[in-house]
Every structure is written in C-alpha cells, then in structure tokens.
Symmetry: C2
Subunit: 468 residues, 2 copies
C-alpha cells in the first residue's frame, strides 16, 4: 500500500488513510491557500482534486472569505452536494450563495431526503423555495413534510427512504425484492418488518438477513426485542439517548397512529450528539449556539453581549455587598486584598460541582431518584475541601499579615462559602431541570452570584464582627 | 400498538417505546427501589423483569450502595453480561464483585472481544486474570492482545470478529459462505475485501451485497472510495474524528504492516465521542475524569483538591497585585468595592473565547491555518464588548459614586482587561495544543489568573495615577 502511494506521488498521506484521498493536514491546506494567493489556479485545482468532500468542507471553514470565493470557483465543476451537509449553518448559506441557487438546486436532487432537509432548513425562505423547486414532486413533498415537524425532533433528522416488508415474506423473496427495487436508500442497515396497517413489528438486521437461507420466513428471523420505534415528534435529544443506550444503528420512526413514516440512522444521531454537547458546553460559558468561528465579528459581539450584561448586574450585586462594609475595609485594608480569594475559591469549587451535575443530568445518571444523595455528597465534598483550604488559606494569611485572628476569619469564610458552592452547584441545575429549562443555561451565572455574595458577605461580615 | 400495551398492563410506557421493554422513568425506578425498601422482593423482581439491560444499568447507577446489592441479587439469575459494558468503571467493578468473578467469568464468554476488553480493562490484575481464565484459549488470546495496545487507541476499541473475503469471489459465493460460517460477529455492516497479504482493499456494505445478483464478482461491487483503514495504534480521538467526518459505520483496522487485524464499529465510536466530550467539559472545570457520581466522597474530594490548590495560588497572586495598592485603596475605598467587577467581566469574556477555541480545536475547525484570523477576531469581539461595557460600567460608577473620573478609570480598565481576555482566551488553548497538551487542561486557570491580575492592576494602577 505504501509503495502504491509513493508511486502516485501523493503530497501528504497519513497513517490512517486507506482510501484514494489525501488527508487534509494544516500544511496541505496552507499549500492550497498559498497557491490561491499566488493565483496558481492549476496547482490549487490539482491539490483540491485529491481531497474528499468532507475535507473540502473543513478547508472552506479554515479559509478567509476571499479565499473561500476562489475555492468555491474551483470546486464548482465537480461539486458533490453532500459537502453542504458537512458545513456549519452560516458557512453553508455563504457557500450556497457563492455557488448560486440554480447549481445547488440541481445538485441536491441526488441527496437522500434527510440530507436535503439539513441543507435547506435554515436558509432564507426565498432560497429555500428556489432549491425545493428543482426537486421532483415526490422528493419535494417529502422534504416539505419533514420541514413541517418542529425543529430538533425526530421528524427533522429521519430519512423517508427505507425498506419495509411484510412478515409473511421469505428471506429469498426479500432478497429478490431488494435486487429489483428502485428508489432504495443509498445505505441501510436494517429491514423494517411492517404489519398490514404499516406499523413496524420487527427489524431484520442485514447481517442476519444475508446469513439466513432463502426459504426461511421473515417472521421467524425478525428481531422484535431490539427494535425501538421513535415517534416522529420525539425530541432529538431523547432519540440520541436511546441510540446511545441501546447501541442502535437505525430505528423506525412512526407517526402518532403508529404508521411507519421514516427511519433514523446512527450517522444522523452522531451529529445530534455533537450538537447537544456543544450546546451544553457553550451554554455553561454563556456563548450562543450560533457563535461559530465563521460568524461575523459584530454578530458574535452581540451574541456574547447579553451574557456579559447579566454578569455585569451580578458583579454589581456583589459590589453592593462589599460597599456595605466600606467602613470595615477602610480600617483594615488587608480585607480588600484577601476578599477575592474567598470568592474565587467558592466560584471554582461550585463550578466543579455544577459541571458534574449538568453532565450527569444530560447522560441521565442524575435524576430525581438519586438527587438528594448526590446533593449530600457534593456538599460533603465541598465541605471537606473547604476545611482543607480553610487551614491552608488561614495559615497563609496569618503568615502574610501576621494576624492569627484574620487567618481564622478567612478560614471560617472559606468553609461557609464552599458549603454554599457545593449546595447550589448541585441545586441550581437540578432546579432548572425540574422547571423544564436546560440545566446548562445560566447555571454558572446564578452560581457565581451566590459564591461572590456569600463569599464577600461571610468574610467581611465575620471580619467586622470579630476584628474591629 | 397502544391497545396492546394496555392489554398487557405495562406499568410505565413512554411514547418512543416499541420493543417489549418498559422505559425506566424516575417514577418507575422509585417504585422498584421502594419495593426493595419494603423487602417486597417479588414485586421488585416483577418490575425489573420488564427492563432492558441498559435500563437496569442506569438503575444500578441511581441506587444507593445497599440498594445496589439487593438489585444485583435480583438480576443474578437472568444476568445479561452486556449490562457490564453499560456501567461506569467504578460501578462496574462494584457490580462484578457483588456478582462474584466466577459468575461473571462464565457470562462474559458470550461477548464479542471488544466488549470483553471494555469489561476487564480497568479491573485489578487479579480479577482480570480470573475473568480471562474462563474464556476459551482463542478468545483469551484475542482479549490479551487487545490489552497489549496502549489505552485510548484503536486496538482497544476494535473487535477481532469480522468478515473478510477475497475479491475474486462472487456475491453468491460470499452469501453461501456467510450462511455456513461459524464464529461470525453478532452484528456487522460491511464485508471487508482483502488481498492475498490480508490487507483490506475495499469494503462491500451489506446493503449493497444483498442487492447484487449472485454471479457478480466482489471486485466489481466493492467500494474502494469510501473505505478508510485505521492503524491499530491510532488514537481513539482521531478515529472518532474520522468516523464523524466521513459518516462511517465501520472501518477495518490494520497493523503496521497493513494486515487486517480487526474492525471498529460506530457504536464503539459513539462511546469514544462521549468520553472525549466529557473529558473536555470536565477539564475546563477542573474536574478529574474519574470523578463519577458513584465515586466515594473522599476520592472525589481528593481529585478536586488539586485544581482548587492551583486556583488558590493564582488567587493569592491576584491578591498580591491588590496589596501593592493598599495605600490607594485606603484613600479611596470605592476602589475595593468596584475592583471585582473589572476582574469578573474579564474572566467571563475570556471564558467565552476560551470555550469557543477549545471546542473549535477539538472539532478541527480551528487549526494553524486560520489561527491568526481567529485570534484577531476574538480580540476584536472582546474589544468591542469592552467598549460597550466601559460605557455602561463607567456610567453606573459615575452615578453610584458621583465621580466622573472614577467612571473613566473603570471604563479604561474594562477595555484593557477585555482585550487581554480575548487575546489570551484564544492564545492559551492554541499554545497548549501546539505544545502537545490537551487545550482544555488548565486553560481556564491560566486565563483567570491573567484576567484577575490584569484587571486589578489596570484598575488600581490607573486609579493611583489619575485619581490621587
């Protein structure tokens, strides 16, 4: 295999490659972009022709917008519409407008319905209409039906192309049917067995179908135990949980009467898993989901502004606590020096708890069943660390300011703040979840408000009481 | 379908169910645990018998350790070894010791090799030996070979059971072979085509094999374009990226001579994706990966202590900056009141940038190709928000303390700190990545040290210069 590669003089090839494409390394990308910069079109064309469409999608993401326009011109002749499914929403819109809706409309008629939905769902209405207009009537009806389901539900990620057969067929009949059928999905992994009402009653994994002798009846090989149907309005998050928990490869989708309307495959679910995680991570940091690398500076600024504004209010709230103790600080400036330590330790300990809780709620390891036990544990953990850091911080303070009582005060404040951090680090996401709100949203800003306010209040309050 | 459910009087059934199992809702779990608490074993047994093993695994996670012991006793008779693959490492160890290694050893001989590896890899050596001893020689050799590969590589997640055929076979020959073969994997999605040296040269997706007429030669239907081989020592993170980027369902794994040694399927990759995300999220919050809900209080406390200790040092560093300005604060206590606002806004704006960067590096949207453009953009975004919040905070300060100059000083400090926040929020993860360190590790502590130090220094320094 290595010899072969050298013969062909591939510019870059990494160890995991096995297909006929070159891996897109940053160096390879740099080479292409440099060729574009030098207006060496034929060199750039040659380099790009070695790339898989998924790598070209990555390259489009790394390029600046002027480079992107040049790249799109180069890929136009051999344009693979699947590339569009690999792009972020904003990037996709840009690439579609660079390609021109006419060219795109023609290309996407090759795609399965779930891919078409992915490409068009967030486009502006006019563009969407134009693209859908190029599809065949059947195909367009399928896509429009998909778009009629709410966002983030099974109906949006399923494909309509599927293989469904009755249970009285034999394996041989099934194979003959598949050999002669038109309009089958590009890839499928399970044959869905339906009853006369077109409700799924079982699945036959292809690996089982292909190993079974022709005369055997489908009803005798079908798997009813491991089939899970999904209702078309189910939230995609729950679909992802189901696939992950049951290690599914595909699942039939039914409407509310139980009729088979589509199938969801694991590759769509992997995308959902990515999205859901990204959402949690971003929400914990107060970043909007639409905040892609490719968003415009002003859009990004605006989307982050809201979170920072909320944070400004909570920071002012914490400052108001401090201002209550202005007199105390005036008498003992060491308090101003030390107070951020208490607040910061509380914030960090609380964030640890919060992150564990948000994550455990998402994976359903944390539910109402074990909520109290987890809360007790988190408070205990933070309390123990509070104790350890009370001793440490107390000792540092004593040594630094030569004031044992000041050390005792900061130690006590530390314990109090970390107990609150553990308690609210667990309570906040659980409370949001119970209220039907994503536990990642605004959790951290609530939490740091509490650890700042409690931290400043405990430290300055104890100091005012015992030191002056 | 609904009628059927009611007929059988299933205690809890949600809309997405379609198999013969009951969904494990928190209420259903509560019912089981209550039955256990009342020592109503037959009721608990009845309820549990309706559950899929993956749900029993969830239930074990939600239970307290005493409830867990009772649950294990109940599932012992019908124990499905696949359940063990669904548990977290610590929980798995506990359940195995409750079941007894002998019982487990017998059960796991039914599993595919990748599942056995998952069950035994983190057990103590003695337990591991005992479990492996119960396997057949071939099976044990397979598992031991897998364990000889480094952790987190393709070799650990692949299965040895696979279907490989030469390219000169016909489709008919292949189907006949599959019908008569023993020792095939439980499930497979692609047939791997190998050359005489047992190197993969292509794959035949089952959906293609089953649709092709018997006389057609494998070499004429095999897919060489979409086959990607993975080297056995490749890091699992890269494998996950490959599957996600190419929408793969399975990929052949080869050793360093190019010989086929195993196959990785998408369900294993979904687990890897979960792990990698969890790692990023946890590392950003300074939580160890071994910090499961089921970890003991003391272990959790210790694992979080280290991060808090690092944070204590950085908090003390920030305090030292403040202590330089003790005299200034004594003269103008308002500074002590306001200084946390500047630091906090910097920390939050920096965390937004940091999270976007860490995430983009993980998905490879951010590489050296576009690093400078992203850094410039992040600095611009933070700078613009710095400007907005300079005006806002300055106005609030002016109003609050009736001091316009103080408002100007806090505004200037805000802009400076947010510029640093944007710069280092992007630079730190990129620098760690370039140094070969996971960009999520310690990023946030570096960042908040910078935003605290810069925030306090800029605000108090400007105040000392212009206000006194």
């Amino acid at each position: 295999m290595t010899d072969q590669v050298e013969e062909l003089e591939r510019p870059a090839e990494n160890t995991s490659s096995g297909d006929d494409y070159v891996d897109l390394t940053p160096e390879y990308a740099r080479e292409i972009l440099d060729a574009l910069g030098d207006d060496d079109v034929s060199r750039a064309e040659e380099l790009i022709s070695e790339l898989h469409f998924a790598d070209i999608a990555d390259l489009l993401g790394w390029a600046s917008s002027s480079q992107r326009a040049k790249l799109v011109d180069l890929i136009r002749p051999d344009f693979d519409p699947e590339l569009l499914t690999e792009l972020d929403d904003e990037l996709r819109e840009e690439v579609i407008s660079l390609l021109g809706t006419e060219a795109v409309a023609e290309a996407i008629s090759e795609l399965d319905s779930d891919d078409v939905v992915e490409v068009v769902e967030y486009l502006e209405e006019e563009d969407q209409k134009e693209l859908l207009g190029a599809l065949s009537d059947i195909e367009r009806a399928r896509v429009e039906e998909a778009l009629s389901y709410p966002e983030y539900t099974a109906g949006r990620i399923m494909q309509r192309e599927l293989v469904a057969i009755p249970d009285y067929w034999s394996v041989g009949q099934t194979i003959d049917f598949l050999r002669s059928a038109k309009n089958l999905p590009d890839d499928f992994y399970d044959i869905i067995v339906v009853d006369p009402r077109y409700s799924p009653v079982g699945i036959v994994p292809l690996s089982r179908a292909i190993r079974t002798n022709r005369p055997v009846l489908i009803r005798d090989v079908m798997d009813t135990e491991n089939m899970r149907t999904v209702v078309v309005t189910e939230e995609q998050e729950n679909v992802a949980h189901l696939f992950r928990q049951r290690d599914l490869i595909s699942a039939p989708v039914v409407d509310d009467t139980g009729r088979l309307v589509g199938v969801i495959t694991v590759d769509d679910v992997v995308d959902v898993i990515d999205e859901e995680y990204e959402e949690d991570m971003m929400r914990l940091a107060g970043v909007g989901e639409e905040d892609d690398l490719s968003s415009a500076i002003f859009d990004t600024t605006r989307s982050r502004f809201t979170w920072l504004l909320v944070n400004l209010f909570t920071a002012i709230a914490a400052s108001m606590v401090i201002s209550v103790f202005e007199g105390t600080i005036q008498q003992l400036v060491a308090l101003a020096v030390l107070m951020p330590i208490v607040a910061s330790m509380g914030g960090n300990a609380g964030t640890q708890t919060l992150t564990v809780a948000v994550r455990a709620i998402a994976t359903r390891e944390l539910t109402s069943t074990n909520a109290w036990r987890v809360i007790r544990k988190e408070v205990a953990v933070c309390g123990l660390n509070g104790l350890a850091f009370a001793v440490l911080t107390g000792a540092v303070t004593w040594f630094w300011f030569d004031d044992g009582l000041l050390g005792a005060v900061i130690g006590a404040a530390m314990i109090i703040n970390l107990l609150f951090a553990g308690l609210f680090g667990a309570l906040i996401p659980l409370g949001l979840e119970r209220a039907g709100i994503d536990p990642a949203v605004s959790s951290s800003v609530f939490l740091t408000t509490i650890t700042d306010v409690v931290g400043f209040f405990a430290f300055l309050g104890l100091a005012a009481t015992f030191l002056l």
